[in-house]
Assembly symmetry: C2
Homo-oligomer: 584 residues x 2
C-alpha cells in the first residue's frame, strides 16, 4: 500500500523544524515587559505543502512549528515574561483549526505525526504554565473552530468576545467525520470538566456556542464586549503576571510526582535570557551530524543510530557562567540537538523501524553537569533546561519506533542520559571488554535525577518508578546505587537493563533482534509500544495520546472519513459524504 506522497512547497525534501521569529510567516511575537503577545496571522500562501491555501487562520505543520518555536523562545530568550496573550491578527476569526484540504491530502502517517506534534505543542503551552509559571491568556474574537478552539483550550484563561457572533466550536464530527483530536475531547472533559451531555451537544453542533452559554458551560473563562476587550485583557494580563512575587496558583494538570521537585516559579524580573542560536547541522545522505548528536541511517536495515556525546569540559562553576555559555552549555545544546533529530526521524524517515541509542563520553562528567543543575535548581535557566529535557524525553517516549539502547565501553549513560536507557523498549549492555578494546567495561551511573519525577514521563512518574511499578523495592535498591559505576552484571541484577551480553553473543544477538524487529508489522509495534510504555497511572497527557489519539487514528483509517465518499475527502467538493451506517 503506497501512502500518497506530498510535495513540500519550498522545494526541499525534508520538513525542517528549525525556525526563528525573523522567518515566521504566520505568527508575530512581541514582548513588552512581563507580557508577550503572540498573534496568529496565517499567510494563506505559506502552506508547508503545495495544494492548499491556509484560509481563515487554519494551520498545517508549518504553522505549528513556528508556534512551538515561539514558546521555546519566550521561555529561554524572554525569561522575564510571565504572561503570553495569544490572539488572532485577523478580524473575524481566531483560528479555523487544522487545514482540511491539507488533512484530506496527507498520508495517514503524516496525519498521525502532525497530530502528535500539535498535541506536544499544546502540552508545551501547559508545561510553560505548570513548570515555569508562564500563563497563557487566549483571546477569541470571531470563531474558534475545531483545532482553533483546541489551541485555546491549552491556555490558562480564555476570553471570548460577546458580540453575538464570536463562538467556540468543535465541528469535527458533524462536518468531517473525525474527532477533535488535538486534545480537545480530553481537555473538555478533564481540564475544563464540562458536563458530558453538554460536551456531546458542543461536539455535534456545527455552529458552536457563543456568549453567556459558553461561559456558563465552562467552555471559556469569561466573556467581554468588544468595547471593553482591551481593558479586560490588560487587567487579566496584569493579574496573571502577578504584581506580587508569586504567580497565581495553578492546579497541577497531572497526578503523580511530576513537578514536586521544582521550586515554585519565581518572578521573572532581572532575568537575562539566552538566545536560541541556530543549530549547527551537517546533513548528508545518510547522516545528520550536530555537535553532540550524530544520526546515522542504515536504510537497508531500517535502523537509525543516534549517538549522544557527553560534555567535553567540566561544568561551569557559577550560574552566571552557565548563562554566559548560552546555547553552547552542554545540557541545553544536546537537548536541542536530540529534539531536532527525533522530529526529523518522525516526519521525514517513516521507514525507520528502530532507533538505536548509543553514547560516547565520560559518565562522571555527565553526572557533574546533573549535579550542577541540581545545585542551581533555583535558577530559572537550570530549571528551564531540566524542563526542556523532560519535554524531549517525553517526545522520545511518544516516538512510535522501537527504541533500543546499546551500552558499550566508552559510553556515558549516566544521570540524565541514563533516562534514554529507561525510555528504550529494550536495552543491551556489554559484559566486560571487546577483544582489542582496552577501555574499561561499560557502566551506567544513576544520579539523583533518575529517581523522583524530575524527568517524569507523561504519566507523571519517573521512568524508573514506571519500570518498577511491581517491585518498589527495586526503586530503593536503585536509590542506594546512585553514584556507583554499575557494570553490566550489576545493572542487570538491579533490573536497569534488559540483557547483559558478553562479547561472543553481542553482535549476533543484536543483529538478530534488529532484523526481527524490522520484520514485524510496523502498526502492531506502534500499538504494542504505546501500551507497554505507559504502565500505571494515566494523566490528561497520557489520555490525549492514548484514548483520544488511538481512536482518532482508527477513524482516520475508516472509509467514512478518508474513503472516496468519506466526509474528509468530500469536504468542500459540494458533494455530501456517503456513510456505511454500521456501528462498531
Amino acid at each position: 500500500m503506497a501512502e500518497p506522497e506530498q510535495k513540500l512547497a519550498n522545494g526541499t525534501t525534508r520538513i525542517d523544524f528549525a525556525t526563528d521569529p525573523s522567518r515566521y510567516r504566520h505568527w508575530q511575537l512581541g514582548v513588552d515587559g512581563k507580557v508577550a503577545t503572540l498573534v496568529l496571522d496565517v499567510d494563506e500562501k505559506g502552506g508547508l505543502f503545495a495544494g492548499y491555501d491556509l484560509k481563515l487562520n487554519s494551520y498545517d505543520l508549518g504553522v505549528d512549528i513556528e508556534l512551538a518555536d515561539a514558546f521555546e523562545r519566550v521561555r529561554f530568550e524572554h525569561p522575564e515574561v510571565r504572561v503570553v496573550v495569544l490572539r488572532s491578527g485577523k478580524p473575524r476569526v481566531f483560528c479555523a483549526g487544522a487545514n482540511i484540504r491539507m488533512l484530506a491530502g496527507a498520508s495517514h502517517a503524516h496525519k498521525v505525526n502532525f497530530c502528535k506534534f500539535t498535541n506536544e505543542t499544546r502540552n508545551a503551552i501547559e508545561d510553560a504554565s505548570a513548570g515555569s509559571g508562564v500563563r497563557t491568556i487566549c483571546v477569541i474574537s470571531g470563531t474558534a473552530a475545531g483545532g482553533g478552539y483546541e489551541l485555546a483550550l491549552a491556555a490558562d484563561h480564555i476570553i471570548l468576545v460577546d458580540d453575538g457572533s464570536s463562538s467556540v466550536s468543535l465541528p469535527e464530527v458533524p462536518l468531517l467525520a473525525v474527532l477533535p483530536g488535538t486534545g480537545g475531547l480530553t481537555r473538555i472533559t478533564d481540564k475544563r470538566r464540562v458536563r458530558r451531555d453538554r460536551a456531546d451537544f458542543l461536539c455535534t453542533t456545527e455552529e458552536g456556542i457563543k456568549g453567556k452559554r459558553a461561559a456558563e458551560w465552562r467552555l471559556v473563562d469569561e466573556i467581554a464586549p468588544h468595547s471593553r476587550l482591551e481593558a479586560v485583557i490588560a487587567t487579566r494580563a496584569r493579574e496573571f503576571a502577578g504584581d506580587a512575587e508569586q504567580p497565581p496558583p495553578y492546579p497541577p494538570p497531572q497526578a503523580g510526582e511530576g513537578k514536586s521537585i521544582y521550586p515554585p516559579p519565581l518572578a521573572g524580573e532581572g532575568r537575562v535570557g539566552v538566545a536560541l542560536t541556530p543549530l549547527e547541522r551537517n546533513l548528508t545522505a545518510d547522516r545528520r551530524d550536530y555537535k553532540y548528536v550524530s544520526v546515522a541511517f542504515d536504510r537497508a536495515a531500517r535502523v537509525t543510530t543516534i549517538t549522544l556525546r557527553g560534555p567535553d569540559s567540566p561544568p561551569p562553576t557559577s550560574a552566571e557562567e552557565m548563562v554566559s555559555h548560552g546555547t553552547a552549555f552542554w545540557p541545553l545544546r544536546v537537548a536541542r540537538e536530540l529534539d531536532d533529530a527525533i522530529l526529523d526521524i518522525r516526519l521525514n524517515e517513516l521507514d525507520v523501524a528502530a532507533i538505536v541509542f548509543k553514547s560516547e563520553g565520560e559518565p562522571r562528567t555527565v553526572l557533574d553537569y546533573d549535579l550542577f543543575l541540581d545545585q542551581q535548581a533555583g535558577h530559572w535557566l537550570a530549571r528551564e533546561i531540566r524542563l526542556k529535557w523532560r519535554r524531549v524525553l517525553k517526545r522520545i517516549d511518544l516516538t512510535s519506533r522501537s527504541l533500543v539502547a546499546l551500552i558499550e565501553p566508552g559510553s556515558c549513560f549516566a544521570g540524565t542520559l541514563a533516562e534514554i536507557v529507561f525510555a528504550a523498549d529494550r536495552s543491551y549492555m556489554l559484559i566486560g571488554n571487546r577483544s582489542g578494546d582496552n577501555r574499561p567495561p561499560a557502566a551506567i551511573i544513576l544520579g539523583d535525577v533518575n529517581l523522583p519525577g524530575t524527568l517524569a514521563m507523561s504519566n507523571g512518574l519517573s521512568r524508573l518508578r514506571t519500570r518498577f511499578l511491581g517491585e518498589p523495592e527495586s526503586c530503593d535498591k536503585a536509590r542506594h546505587a546512585v553514584g556507583q559505576a554499575l557494570e553490566a552484571r550489576a545493572a542487570e541484577a538491579l533490573g536497569l537493563v534488559t540483557f547483559a551480553l558478553d562479547d561472543i553473543d553481542w553482535d549476533d544477538e543484536i543483529r538478530v533482534f534488529l532484523e526481527e524487529r524490522a520484520s514485524f508489522s510496523p502498526d502492531s509495534l506502534t500499538g504494542l509500544e504505546a501500551n507497554l510504555r505507559y504502565g500505571g497511572p494515566e494523566t490528561m497527557e497520557t489520555k490525549i495520546f492514548a484514548r483520544l489519539t488511538a481512536w482518532q487514528n482508527w477513524i482516520f483509517q475508516r472509509p467514512n472519513a478518508t474513503g472516496e465518499t468519506g466526509a474528509l475527502s468530500r469536504y468542500g467538493t459540494g458533494r455530501k459524504p456517503e456513510f456505511n451506517t454500521k456501528r462498531t
Copy 2:
C-alpha cells in the same frame, strides 16, 4: 462499503447470548462444595459461524458466551462457591486464544464487538473476585497462547506446569500483526506489573516463556511439576476458599470509590442459590419483548427504543422472600433482560444508530426496591443483584451507539433506573403534561444508590460524580434532593438532564436530534462517545477499553493486519505477509 457477512453455523440469523450448562459445547462446570471446576474442552466443530474449526481450544464468541454464563451461574446458583479452578480438558494445550480463521473472516464490526464481549467476560471474572470474593485459580498445563494467556491473566492465581514445554505467550505481534487486545497488554503492565522491557520480550517472542523464568518475571504466580500438580491445586483451592471466615484480602483492582460500600465478602456456607431460569422472550421482526423490557426497532430511522417497566408489586419483606422469588424478583429479572437486549443490539443490529431509553411504572416502587436492597446489603443475593446491575450498566456505558433517555409522564427513572439517564449521552425531559394526558408530570427521583460508587462506572466513579467532575457542589445538591420527585425544571436546574422541553417543542426537537444523529458518521460517534463518557480517572478497565482497544481497532483496520497481504489474512496459508514498512 459492505462488511463481509458470516453465516451462523446453527442456521439462525441472530447470535443468541442465552445458554445454560446443559447446552454447553465447550465448557464443563462442576461444583464440589466451595470449589467449582470449569474445564475448557472446546468442540472443534462447534464454531458459532461456518468456515472454521476451533482447534487447540481456540475460541470464538460462542465459547465465550458459555464462559460468561458459567460465571453468572457460579455467582447466582452456587453462592457457596469460593474458588473456581479454570483448566483445560485437553492434554497439551490450555487455550490457543481467539480462533484466527474466525478473526480473519469476521467483519470489522464483529471483531470489535467480539473483543468487547470477551473483555467484559474477563472483567467479570475479576469482578467475581473483587465483588463477591470468588477467587479464580488458573491451571496451565500445555500452552496458553495469546487470548489463552489473556484468559489466565483474569484469574487471581496462575499455576504453570513446569514440564519443559508448558508456556505462556502473547504471539499476536510476531504471528498476526495485531495486539494481545483482550486485556493482555494492560494486565501485563498494570495488574501483574511486569517490567516493560520484559513485557516487550514476551510480546515479540512467538514461543513464549516457560518454567522458572515465567515465575521470576511475574507472568505466573507459581510453577509446579506434573507430579505435584493436583496436590498444589488442592492446597491453593483450600487456601483461597478460606477455611477461615474471610477470604484472603485482595488488592482492589481499581481506584476510586467503586467498592467501598460493599461489606467484605462473606463465607459462602449455608447459602442457597437461585436458579437462573431461561429468559422468556417473544421475538418478532421488529420487536423483542421480555416481561419488564421491550425493544422496538425503527429500522428506517435507525433508532431502537428500549422501554423498561417498573415493578408491578411492592418489594418482598424479607431476604427469604427475595430468595424464594428467584429470577422473578424484579431487580434481577429486569437486569438480565436488559443485558440480553443490549447484547442483541450490539451484535445483531449493527445499523442501529441510537438507543432511546424510556421507562414505565411507579418511581416510588422502584425506589422501594432499592431501599430493600440497601437494607439487605449484607445478604449475598442482594449484593449479587447490585453487582449484576453494575455490570449491566457498565455494558451500557460501553455500547457504541448513541444513548438517549426520554423522560416522560408515566416514566419511573428513579434510583437504579435513574442511572440509565446518567449513562445516556443526552437526556430530554418533558415539562408538564402533554395535551390529552392526565398523568402527573414526569419526575426523576434520586436514591442513595445514585451517589456513591454502588453502581460505579468502569472509571471507579459513580455516574453523577463523573457527570459533575467540574462542580462537586452539584453532587451535594443532588444528595440533598434524594427522595424528592424532581420534575423537569428542577431536574434541569440540578444538572440531571440535558434539556427540559415543553410539549410544543418535544416531538420536533427529538425527531430532529435523532435524525441528525443518524446522519453522522458512525465511526466518529463511536470515538466521540468513547471519549466523552469517561472523564476523570482511568482504571485498568478503562485502560483496556480505551488505550488498548482503540489501538487494536486501529490495527484491525490496517492493511498490514487485515489487507490482502496482511498477517491475519495470510495466517495459515503458508504465504508470508507483506508489510508496508512505514511507521506512523
